[in-house]
């Protein structure tokens, strides 16, 4: 009843409220109704459905609240409201009560109808069930009858069924027996036909049975027969196996069959490997023959192809077959195979290395790299199969070694190219003198040398770069990604070459042929300039190029550019210093000869400038022209006839004067290092020459005219040398000292009038 009332109340209150709702605020009403419902379901079920409840359940004045107290409400109304409102609310309340009454009536009526129909339905169902029960009873009896029948039939057929089963068993046995009896002949036939696989299968099937019934004579005979035939079969299989003519797959089949025949796996495995060895050795032999002593061996790519397809392919087959066949042997078998592969592999590698060694001569890397690539790629397959044999590692090692050798080779090549350039320069320097005409200028030669070296370097870099190309299989090995780039190419090749270049250049400085005859001075000059150029630009350019091309990722320390530059600069400086020494020496020798060969005591009054000095000045001028290589410092001096600041000191006072000068002037470092410019170079040469002159003069004794001759010569030198040197004072000082020394070495020092000296010099 409660459930029915609940079902009726919710639809009932909805339509009852909204159409005839006396209050204007319909939405609020509805909310109130919802609240009521909620309250109803939330509280006890026994509460009356029509009971109004407010939103605040505790407010006793709320008409719809659960705790509505009519007395309180009335009191409140009476107390608070005026009469009119009371009247209104009374009518309102009456209307509401009336509406609620009608609602209630409707609900009761509707629910009553439903209850009646439900009662009808239940009564009908009760009748139906009773009928169904009867039918079920009947079904049960029927089933019992059926079971009974079935049991009786089974019992009748039992006997026959057993007999049939027995017969079937006999039949199967007989068939097996027949198979056994026929086995020898079948086996023979199979062996004759060469269907070894079939034979082995038969044998395998019969084996167990024969083993079990071997105490019966007939079976015994069959077994014996079978064993004979099987032995023959094994014999034949082995024969075939040994013949070796058939390829590896057939051999593998043979082995498989033999294994199935129960041959000892150990022995077979040995034999298998021995055969494989034979075959592979044949491959190796053919490779070796290709290698041969005769020079026209096939090119290295073809060689590695043959090796790859012949040997490595064979090895792959063997390894695959072995692992398939002898997998049961476990780690010992794998070890055996690995040893086998290692041994043959090392022989193969030896051959490949021999072949690659023959390839070292060529300058072209592309073929070699392709060959190495194939070689490496081919070996990756057996490498995967036989990780233990370490073939892939060994192959990588070979590739690395070859790469290193190539680097060495390229370094040699670069060195040779550099030396070749030097030889060319020497010839170019020697040739024009023979021809008597102006040869190519030093600047031109320098440019030639620099560009040719640079192009050689670039070519080498390009050639070496092939090793790291993306498509080459070994380029992603750590060696090629890191060490090859940084240590090999950058350090070994480029830095090594620059170093060796510097060393070669320096060796010209320390060569035992110190007389200067060995190396033409111009070559020294050119090399010096070359080194200087390298220091300023080329080294950093080359290294940047290398770093870009090889994307050096290795973090190992590399030689910084600055170190190389410093080395190059040092070399340039040493070369230039050596050049100054050599040139100074040449002029010194001339001066010395001129001083030493002359009889200064009995010489005549000077009329002319000494021939040799003129020559000396000419020489200086010629070296000046060759110095244009270093024309960084452009001479701003004008060609003047006289040195502006020179006042010849009176020879008699020079002793004192030069002493004073010495006190206040710096010590003259004769063989001091020179700067990289023309004036400094010339100053160096002139300093050396004048110091030599001084020392030579001190060793001689002069007559009066000898002294005057020295005076004239020095004045002449004064006139010509000032424009070549950075510090005129230095030349003055040295020349003054020469004249003073000559005066000291003269028992009768009567100097010439300066005006006369000038006249003579102008005439000269």
């Amino acid at each position: 009843m409660a459930a029915a009332a609940t079902a009726g109340s919710s639809p009932g209150s909805g339509p009852g409220d909204s159409p005839e709702g006396p209050e204007a605020e319909a939405p609020e009403r509805r909310r109130k109704a919802h609240g009521m419902l909620k309250l109803y379901y939330g509280l006890s079920e026994g509460e009356a459905a029509g009971r109004p409840a407010g939103p605040d359940p505790l407010d006793p004045t709320d008409l719809n609240g659960a705790h509505f107290d009519p007395e309180v409400y009335l009191d409140k109304l009476r107390r608070e409201c005026p009469l009119a409102q009371l009247m209104d609310s009374e009518t309102d309340m009456v209307r509401q009560i009336r509406a609620l009454d009608s609602d209630m009536q409707t609900l009761v009526y509707e629910n009553y109808n439903k209850f009646i129909s439900a009662t009808d339905t239940i009564r009908k169902m009760k009748n139906d069930f009773r009928k169904m029960e009867d039918e079920m009873d009947r079904l049960a009896t029927n089933m019992a009858v059926i079971t009974d029948f079935s049991a009786r039939i089974s019992a009748t057929l039992q006997d026959r069924h057993e007999r049939i089963t027995k017969l079937a068993g006999v039949h199967a046995l007989l068939r097996k027996l027949q198979f056994l009896f026929e086995l020898p002949s079948r086996l023979t036939k199979c062996v004759e036909l060469g269907a070894y696989g079939q034979a082995v299968r038969y044998q395998g099937r019969a084996q167990a049975v024969l083993q079990q019934y071997q105490h019966l004579p007939s079976f015994r005979a069959i077994q014996d027969d079978c064993q004979v035939i099987t032995a023959r079969l094994a014999q034949q299989l082995r024969q075939r196996f040994r013949e070796g003519g058939s390829g590896a797959p057939e051999q593998a089949e043979c082995v498989e069959l033999l294994l199935a025949l129960g041959e000892p796996a150990e022995e077979l495995c040995e034999e298998f490997l021995a055969h494989a060895r034979g075959r592979l050795e044949e491959e190796l032999r053919s490779l070796e023959a290709e290698l041969g002593p005769s020079p026209p061996a096939p090119d290295v790519l073809e060689f590695t192809d043959h090796g790859g397809s012949g040997f490595v392919g064979g090895l792959c087959h063997v390894a695959a077959a072995y692992q398939e066949l002898f997998a049961v042997q476990g780690p010992a078998g794998a070890e055996k195979l690995a040893a086998f592969a290692r041994e043959l592999g090392s022989r193969y590698f030896a051959l490949v290395e021999r072949r690659l060694a023959q390839e070292q001569g060529g300058g072209d890397n592309s073929l070699l790299v392709r060959a190495l690539d194939r070689f490496h790629r081919r070996l990756r397959a057996p490498g995967a199969l036989l990780a233990a044999a370490g073939l892939a590692d060994a192959a990588t090692e070979i590739v690395e070694r070859v790469a290193r050798e190539r680097l060495g080779h390229h370094l040699q090549g670069l060195r040779a190219a550099f030396l070749g350039c030097l030889t060319d320069v020497r010839q170019a320097l020697a040739a024009p003198r023979v021809a008597g005409k102006e040869g190519p200028g030093l600047a031109e030669l320098l440019a030639n040398v620099a560009s040719s070296i640079l192009s050689h370097i670039k070519a080498s870099l390009a050639a070496v770069h092939l090793f790291t190309a993306k498509e080459v299989s070994f380029s992603n090995k750590p060696y090629f990604r890191g060490e090859f780039c940084s240590q090999g190419v950058r350090e070994g090749l480029i830095v090594g070459f620059i170093r060796s270049m510097c060393q070669t250049a320096q060796s010209f400085c320390d060569s035992p042929g110190e007389k200067g005859g060995a190396t033409p001075p111009a070559l020294l000059l050119l090399l010096s300039r070359l080194c200087l150029d390298y220091e300023t630009a080329t080294i950093s350019y080359i290294l940047t190029l290398t770093d870009e091309q090889f994307l050096v990722q290795d973090q190992s320390p590399v030689t910084p550019v600055s170190t190389l530059c410093a080395e190059a600069r040092e070399t340039a400086r040493r070369l230039l210093t050596h050049y100054v020494k050599v040139q100074g020496l040449v002029i010194s020798q001339m001066l010395r000869k001129s001083v030493e060969t002359r009889d200064w005591l009995s010489t005549l009054e000077p009329r002319n400038v000494g021939l040799l000095y003129e020559e000396g000045v000419r020489k200086a001028q010629s070296s000046d022209s060759s110095k244009r290589t270093f024309s960084v410092y452009s001479s701003s001096r004008q060609q003047g006839r006289y040195a502006p600041s020179y006042t010849p000191s009176a020879p008699m006072d020079t002793n004192l004067l030069s002493n004073i000068q010495k006190l206040f002037s710096e010590r003259i470092d004769v063989f001091s290092p020179v700067e990289f410019n023309k004036v400094s170079v010339l100053t160096g040469i002139i300093k050396i020459s004048l110091k030599t002159l001084l020392e030579c003069v001190r060793l001689r004794t002069f007559g009066r005219f000898g002294l005057q001759q020295v005076q004239v010569d020095c004045h002449f030198l004064q006139l010509y040398l000032w424009r070549f040197v950075a510090d005129e004072e230095l030349v003055h000082l040295l020349l003054d000292e020469v004249v003073a020394s000559a005066a000291l070495r003269c028992p009768d020092p009567v100097p010439m009038e300066p005006s006369v000296v000038e006249v003579i010099c102008e005439r000269g």
Binding site: E514, N659, L663, D669, F671, E695, R698, L744, P747
Partner: protein, 289 residues
């Protein structure tokens, strides 16, 4: 007692000839010959009082001509020889009472040594120096070692048993090296004088006769008490330049060790300045102890 400051003595004339008085082993005495064309030449006998740092001189007149070389008799204190040049009569050599067993010739680029008795060439160092060879000296304790110097600014040490390559090469001077002298007692000390106005004292330990670092009985010398024990703990010295003396302002043509004091040497420059120097004290003690 005394400091290491050099003692300088000036002559009036140019000078090239310097020698210690070899026979004198008590006093430090040097002989200097002047080289003047206009005035009478002199031989200065210079005594150096080590205690008081005082120089005493005696002057002998040498009127025959300018002195190019001077040598004292190794046996007799009273005898000395000069090599002089008189105007108008070329050069004339006087060997005095000095007797050579070996005649050593210095020629351009080569060093020859000949036995006097048979006059056959024993060895010849071809191309010893790039230019002229100016001087040579034998190691007093290792007779097969000799030092040579020349116009290529280098000092080279040769082993006469194998003359294809110099044992050592020094390249410290910046001009011709005119003189090279081994110390008589401690042959690692090598003195060189050059026309770059410098005197350089080098320490050539690696080719000296003195053992370094271990105890070896030096049986050849009497100054055993000097280096009584070469302790093992002592670190071997490296070949190096000990000192560069720059007191001269003109080319130095002669340097020599005192015969009396192995730690003292004199150098003479063309302008007549004689400088007496000592081996640095630190090195001296290092060698001795």
């Amino acid at each position: 007692m005394e400091d290491d400051a050099p003692v300088i003595y000036g002559l009036e004339f140019q000078a090239r000839a310097l020698t210690p008085q070899t026979a004198e082993t008590d006093a430090i005495r040097f002989l200097v010959g002047t080289q003047s064309l206009k005035y009478d030449n002199q031989i200065h006998i210079i005594d150096f009082d080590d205690e008081n740092n005082i120089i005493n001189k005696n002057v002998l007149l040498h009127q025959v001509g300018e002195i190019w070389h001077i040598s004292a008799s190794p046996a007799d204190k009273g005898v000395l020889a000069t090599c002089y040049n008189r105007m108008s009569c070329g050069s004339q050599w006087e060997t005095g009472r000095k007797s050579f067993h070996w005649l050593i010739t210095i020629s351009c680029c080569g060093i020859y040594r000949k036995a006097q008795a048979r006059l056959c060439q024993i060895y010849c160092i071809e191309n010893a120096h790039g230019q002229l060879v100016r001087d040579l000296d034998f190691n007093p304790n290792k007779q097969y070692y000799l030092a040579s110097c020349g116009d290529d600014c280098k000092v080279k040490f040769w082993d006469t048993r194998n003359v294809t390559e110099p044992v050592k090469t020094l390249e410290e001077h910046s001009h011709w090296v005119w003189n090279v002298r081994y110390n008589h007692s401690h042959d690692q000390l090598v003195l060189t004088g050059s026309s770059d106005s410098r005197v350089i004292l080098s320490n050539m330990v690696s080719i000296s006769s003195e053992p370094f670092g271990h105890l070896v009985d030096d049986d050849d010398i009497s100054d055993q008490e000097d280096h009584r024990s070469e302790e093992k703990s002592k670190e071997p010295l490296q070949d190096n330049v000990i000192a560069t003396y720059e007191e001269h302002e003109d080319s130095v043509y002669a340097v020599d060790w005192s015969s009396a004091d192995p730690w003292l040497f004199a150098s003479l420059s063309y302008d007549g300045r004689l400088v007496i120097n000592r081996v640095p004290r630190a090195l001296k003690y290092h060698i001795l102890l």
